[in-house]
Amino acid sequence: MSAESKSSKPKVGVYICHCGTNISHTVDVEQVREWAEKTLGAEGVVIARDYKFMCSSLGQELIEKDIKELGLERVVVAACSPHLHEMTFRGASKRSGLNPYLTELASIREQVSWVHTDKAVATEKAKAVVAGAVRRVIQNEPLEEIRVPIHPDTLVVGGGIAGIQAALEIANAGFKVYLVEREPSIGGHMAQFDKTFPTLDCAACILTPRMFEAGNHPNIELLTWSEVTHVAGYVGNFTVTIKKKPRYVNTDLCTGCGICVEKCPKKVVDDVYEAGLGYRKVVYTPFAQAVPKYPVIDAPNCTYFQKGTCKACEKFCPTNAIDFTQKEEYVTIQVGNIILATGYDLFDARRVSNYGYGRLANVFTSIEFERMSNAAGPTGGNIVLRDGKTQPKTVGIIHCVGSRDKNYNNYCSSICCMQSLKFAHLVRERTGATVYEFYIDMRTPMKAYDEFYQRVLEEGTLFVRGKVAQVTNAARNEREEGKLIIQVEDTLAGKQRRIPVDMVILSIGMEPRHDAKETSHLFGVGCSSDGWFIEKHPKLDPVSTMTEGVMIAGCATGPKDIPASVAQGAAAAARVLNKIMQKEVVLEPIKASINEAQCSGCRICNGLCPFNAILFHEDRMVSEINPALCQGCGTCVAACPAGAISGTGFSNEQILAQIDGLLMDVNLAV
């Protein structure tokens, strides 16, 4: 029932909130109410009320009652910022049969009572604000929400623990998931670890069942050794192009027997899975429990591709699965939602030259240590020095390498304290060596984390509070000869110490993927200057982004531990399922639209749209805005030199009317 009065101005109801005393303390609400009824009566205001808390159910009922009984056609609520309660009052209108877009909020709290102290001034300003809102709302048109169908398939980018969790949740609910992973196998960083804190569960033991489940799930299509190259469309209707890099292995024929790997004569340093600490063959699967089990050939290092000889893998393959002629393949899929779980990269420890990584042989990074400690790793689980054989008698573990440091990365990487404690425990358990741990703070906030710290204290690790100044091999005396010396201030004792150790482990920080910015552009999500994906709200909405239909999960949004990544993966999946179950997505009708007749085809707006929502029709030489993608930001409206674009809900008439109202006291000679 939103019939417009044909005869005169539409009937407007004005509601002025006291907001407890937040507003009424500075604005004379009674005066504004009286004034609105009397003075603005000529403009169409038929009723004006004031109430202590408009947003309460009683307050809303006032509006609902008036709409029904007085036949109100417009509503103005003068209260707090629309950010807070625009939806509330629009809901009240909707419930009473009035189109919600015929309700406007006038902020007389954030914009008046909270920024002024002079009561008289504030009251006058409140009147002007109300007048502006009244004049504007009269210009409002009823708008209908846009409904878009949702394609039930989902794309999950990134096959780490967060991505796997998300994929399984959606697949188990009965919907199809495409799981795209850049490496030959899913598993992500977690597959590289030895034990996980605080339970000391073996990482592979808890991860691989999930990996197999994902690999064998009827609803999950794995696209490993693949990357997304193009994304078009909008929520519910994405068209995604995926490049499948050539494995040079025919996966229909390959049984995963591994003979090719065995027979390959060439070894290279494995700087991905083994973190540069071990070797792999040129045809390889990254690790034994890889999912899928199909190997790939590393073409730039392959003797056949470089020189045209060898082909040992092809010779020995029992099923003729090696195919050197394979080319990269592009597939295009349709999905309704996307979850980005692309994970993290690690800080390059060579940058901290005073720690000597890369120059001093026995300085290791945390990921190198994980591989070393792992029984399936390059040393068979033996903790040894760089010579591959000697067991260290003293080990120093350094926190905060490349984190909490304005010279490198400002932020805290969240997991290094626990990781360092874990290393201390493992080293002591395996070797009985003396372990020193160097920290600035001990960050052990989550469940059972501080208890783990207590355990490590009990086990006899020596803690020194101080950020290590340098690791050096320049000995000053006999005691230091042949050792690595950790020079640090023991801040609690207040003295500089030089501690000779055999091995140093650097807990390096997490960084965003080095192509995170490109990825964020590809998917249209925001990316901070550091490179982490930006969530819609840091507190209340950690898995959505400002782009409807694209979710983020796991370390791609910021450093976090495994439970948090899993939780985010599941949360993102829940969001997606929420959308899929609704079958349609409802979009706000505040959109821009182009008046074709006025459009000159200059295309200035095309490049400006942050959401890629503007298409250009070559045949007609005009631009068109896709309402599903348009977020109503207004950039194109302002930029169009012909004034051909107007924003629904923000038309020129509406804005000018609001300005008129605000300046009601100003008499300008024109």
């Binding site: 540069g276 390059d348 890369g358 042989a361 010579d387 490198y408 320049a474 000053r476 080095h514």
Partner: protein
């Protein structure tokens, strides 16, 4: 010919005369034209700033103002002495970073009819100029007597690679610049871990025990890694290690003999200039024995010294990072350049 404004600094005319002489000899063949700043004054070293801030920076800024006034077709000032280089660079940087400082310093300068707008000049070190403006290829091409057989420990000291406000150096702790120059002139560079450790600075005058320990650490390390000679860019470092080596030995009861010269002197030798013209012979710790090695065949293998792992034994090491730019994270491929 590249033109530069030249700030010699007080030491170049006295204790570091060898630096000055050798620099003057090699400048021409390398295509470096140095025009001395007219009537420059002392930069105050590390002494004036500890007394009174504005006078200290005004003292430095007078030189900047005078240099800025010179019409040489260049705004680059070259200062070979570490402390002078740092003082000039810091004054320019801080006057911009802290406008209040810039204002006060300019008020003082105005009393002498001078003014300096921070950012006008580009303050560079001679080593930086040789590598980045002239280029190692040009340097290599001018070498007539490569210093093959001479084992050199490159000692850059503190105040050139740090604090590096203008991001000129590859790394503040283990930079490769001096090493590259030495390799270009054919010398064998020793893997010297204390390349940027402190020589003690003015502690040789004020607190000699502190200084002796710092000097001892340096020369014992150079000796351990079997260097014949140390090479430096800083007059203070050269003086401390050269002139106070005897006292250091006396203090510890040791017998180190580690000669130290300026890198320009070795470049001069490689370019074919006679040692007398390069200030050789003015050292307190004699270079006779070290120089005798040049041109003499040295056996390939090194028995002890720098701990080197033989190839293919043990676990692989990460590749070397050549340029350490602070700021945005870089991936391995980028960093390899």
């Amino acid at each position: 010919m590249n033109d530069y404004l030249f700030y010699p600094g007080c030491s170049m005319e006295s204790s570091a005369k060898a630096y000055y002489d050798s620099l003057m000899e090699i400048a021409e063949p390398l295509g470096i034209n140095l025009k001395e700043i007219e009537d420059w004054n002392c930069c105050g070293a590390t002494e004036y700033v500890g007394i009174n801030l504005i006078p200290a920076y005004s003292l430095i800024a007078r030189n900047l103002a005078l240099a800025a006034k010179m019409n040489n077709g260049t705004k680059t000032v070259v200062a070979p002495c570490s402390a002078c280089y740092l003082n000039l660079a810091k004054a320019d940087y801080y006057m911009a970073e802290r406008p209040a400082l810039g204002e006060k310093v300019n008020q003082a300068l105005e009393a002498g009819g001078l003014h300096y707008v921070p950012g006008t000049l580009d303050i560079r070190h001679i080593l930086d100029v040789i590598i980045n403006d002239i280029g190692l290829d040009v340097l290599k091409s001018k070498v007539v007597k490569p210093l093959k057989g001479l084992r050199v420990a490159p000692y850059l000291g503190c105040m050139v690679p740090r604090p590096d406000y203008y991001h000129r150096w590859s790394d503040p702790e283990h930079p490769i610049e001096l090493e590259e120059v030495l390799k270009a002139i054919g010398a064998e560079v020793v893997d010297f871990p204390r390349a940027t450790a402190c020589c003690g600075g003015h502690m040789t005058q004020i607190g000699p025990e502190t200084a002796y320990e710092l000097i001892r650490r340096l020369i014992s390390s150079a000796e351990k890694y079997k260097a014949d000679i140390m090479v430096t860019v800083c007059p203070m470092c050269q003086m401390n290690i050269d002139a106070y080596q005897a006292e250091t030995n006396r203090h510890f009861g040791t017998h180190y003999h580690m000669p130290i010269v300026f890198f320009t002197q070795l470049i001069g030798l490689a370019l074919g200039f006679p040692p007398e013209k390069l200030g050789f012979g003015t050292e307190i710790t004699s270079t006779k024995e070290a120089l005798a090695r040049i041109g003499v065949e040295v056996p390939e293998a090194v028995e002890e010294g720098a701990p080197r792992r033989k190839k293919e034994e043990g676990l692989p090491m990460p590749p070397r990072l050549l340029k350490n730019v602070k700021g945005k994270p870089r991936n391995a491929e980028e960093a390899e350049q």
